[in-house]
């Protein structure tokens, strides 16, 4: 059986550590009021798609491990290009891996930067065409797009001990 030699000393030492924590900075934040800046490369739960840049090559659809992207194109022989007639992403199946964004050769696809995008219905998770466009509510993240990342606010790190309350926007 284990013998207690210096009973209480170890616990006392531990207590000093705990008490010291009383005087330290908190590392938590009061979420809805106090927000941390998220990573510039955040892979938020939506895809941003630019109709203007998309050529309809369907590389993104082939790269997707989940088969979440559906793209229908019509050949436009007069102008020698594809017209995208349907671009649909089932974000319910999407695992936010970002492989489609990496694969797109024309910079037409971005991960979303905002993260509070919960939906009430499953059907709302299927997004199509212009619902995928970039807008102030749906900003693009800097994932695989360093030019966008440079413009986004710098990430707040817990190691920098966040103490001051962030100004409300």
């Amino acid at each position: 059986m284990f013998k207690f030699e210096r009973f209480g000393l170890g616990i006392f030492k531990g207590m000093t550590v705990t008490i010291r924590h009383l005087f330290r900075h908190p590392t938590v934040s009061q979420y809805p009021e106090q927000r941390l800046n998220i990573s510039r490369r955040t892979r938020g739960n939506e895809l941003i798609w630019s109709r203007e840049r998309c050529t309809g090559c369907a590389t993104c659809a082939k790269a997707c491990p989940q088969g979440a992207i559906e793209i229908v194109t019509a050949a436009n022989t007069a102008e020698n290009k594809y017209n995208v007639t349907k671009y649909r992403v089932d974000t319910g199946y999407c695992i936010q891996c970002g492989l489609c964004v990496e694969a797109c050769p024309y910079d037409a696809l971005f991960m979303g930067f905002s993260f509070e995008r919960a939906k009430y219905r499953r059907a709302d998770l299927v997004q199509e065409d212009d619902a995928l466009a970039e807008s102030p509510e749906r900003p693009a993240s800097g994932y695989f797009h360093p030019d966008i990342a440079a413009k986004l606010p710098e990430q707040t790190l817990l190691v920098d001990k966040i103490t001051e309350k962030r100004k409300k926007q």
Binding site: F2, F4, R6, F7, G8, L9, G10, I11, K13, G14, T16, V17, T18, T27, I38, S39, R40, R41, T42, R43, T59, K62, A63, C64, P65, I95, Q96, C97, G98, L99, E102, A103, M111, S141, Y143, F144, A149, E154, Q155, L157, L158, V159, D160
Partner: protein, 373 residues
């Protein structure tokens, strides 16, 4: 006439199902325990509640497309899983990884070891009944490491950062200063954690001599990682079969002697120190250059097979791939650490009380996602 035997109180062994959603089972794990009062006579692990057929899914996906799924195997340490899989594909296809990417990979793998051991020791002490103080302190430090992963990969849980032939993106400029801050912060924290618990009488009484795993059993069961090293098996894939660039760094392999819960806890703490040592050596050495070899998205490795293994935070993690020269693996097999480490559980818990069972189970450090695949 009544005999003495009839007068004494008999105890009958009974079977108690422990789990699958018991908070102490670290996931959906069920133990069928045969108990005599509070004494554990035997246990039978029942798993498969989280089985997703990941190996079969790999055969339907492209080589690159499987990387996000490896994140979901051992979700406590996804970076290591990414690394193990990418090494296997690189071995299969004979791809050379750029120098800078190798360093980034080592940094990520070691940070992941630290993050994993934070959870391992934190939750083990939680299981020992220390409740929230050590648990919260450990999680707080883990969050800081996860901040770094978030910075490079954009996700806090499923990083999907490693790629075949390198890593997906270069580290941002603010990464290395933040990493240096975290290294010095973690060093202080490990010392503080030691003060908090090293001589804590309750922990010593609960963990010393409890759940002893003999060296022979550990070797025979194929146990690896901190659990085996605590029993005195000096085996570490980083030293025994160096992969990536681990042969360039100085580090020791901490081992225990007794093979009890306390040794497993101590070995993990020591390993954290060694990981910090590797990080300190790696940071000033990072060279410039590309972070990804020129590998197409759809690769077709030549027909053949390859097995690559790494020292994941939990132990030896291997990926075996068979290629038939198509864009998807013909067969993929994962050698999961947790599943194999779990095979020794029965030997470790026999004769202990139910409360010890929880602690012993916690000291193995398993993730159910990896057990069931």
């Amino acid at each position: 006439m009544t005999t003495t035997e009839e007068l004494t109180l008999h105890t009958e062994p009974f079977v108690l199902n422990f789990g699958p959603v018991h908070p102490s089972t670290h996931g959906v794990f069920r133990m069928r325990c045969t108990l005599d009062g509070e004494v554990v006579l035997d246990i039978e692990p029942v798993f498969g509640y989280l089985h997703r057929g990941v190996e079969k899914l790999a055969e339907e996906r492209t080589y690159t497309g499987f990387i996000p799924l490896t994140d979901r195997l051992d979700y406590i340490s996804p970076m290591s899983n990414n690394l193990g899989y990418c090494l296997a594909v690189e071995k299969l296809a004979g791809i050379k990884v750029p120098e800078r990417a190798e360093y980034i990979r080592v940094i990520m793998a070691e940070l992941q070891r630290l993050a994993n051991h934070c959870i391992a020791v934190g939750s083990m002490l939680n299981d020992a009944g220390a409740y929230y103080t050590p648990f919260m302190y450990a999680f707080r430090e883990r969050e800081k490491i996860i901040d770094l992963f978030d910075m490079v990969s954009g996700q806090r849980l499923t990083y999907n950062y490693m790629r075949i032939g390198g890593v997906s993106q270069d580290i941002p400029a603010e990464f290395l200063p933040a990493l240096k801050k975290i290294i010095s912060r973690l060093k202080k924290w490990v010392e503080e954690y030691e003060v908090l618990l090293k001589q804590n009488e309750i922990l010593l009484a609960r963990a010393k001599g409890v759940g002893i795993l003999a060296k022979e059993i550990a070797v025979n069961c194929g146990i690896s990682g901190p659990v085996a090293r605590a029993s005195g098996v000096k085996r570490d894939v980083r030293k025994d079969d160096p992969y990536s660039i681990y042969d360039r760094f100085q580090f020791d392999i901490p081992t225990g002697e007794a093979g009890d819960c306390y040794d497993r806890y101590r070995v993990r703490i020591e390993e954290m120190r060694q990981s910090l040592r590797i990080l300190e050596q790696a940071v000033p050495q990072i060279p410039g250059g590309a972070v990804k070899a020129d590998v197409p998205h759809l690769i077709r490795p030549p027909a053949g097979d390859a097995y690559a293994h790494i020292e994941s935070p939990k132990g030896e993690l291997g990926y075996y791939l068979v290629s038939d020269n198509s864009i998807a693996p013909y067969r993929c097999h994962v050698r999961p650490t947790s599943l194999i480490n779990l095979t020794a559980l029965r030997e470790m818990v026999k004769g202990w009380k139910v409360a010890d069972l929880i602690l012993i189970f916690g000291s193995i450090d398993i993730t159910m996602g990896e057990v069931d695949r």
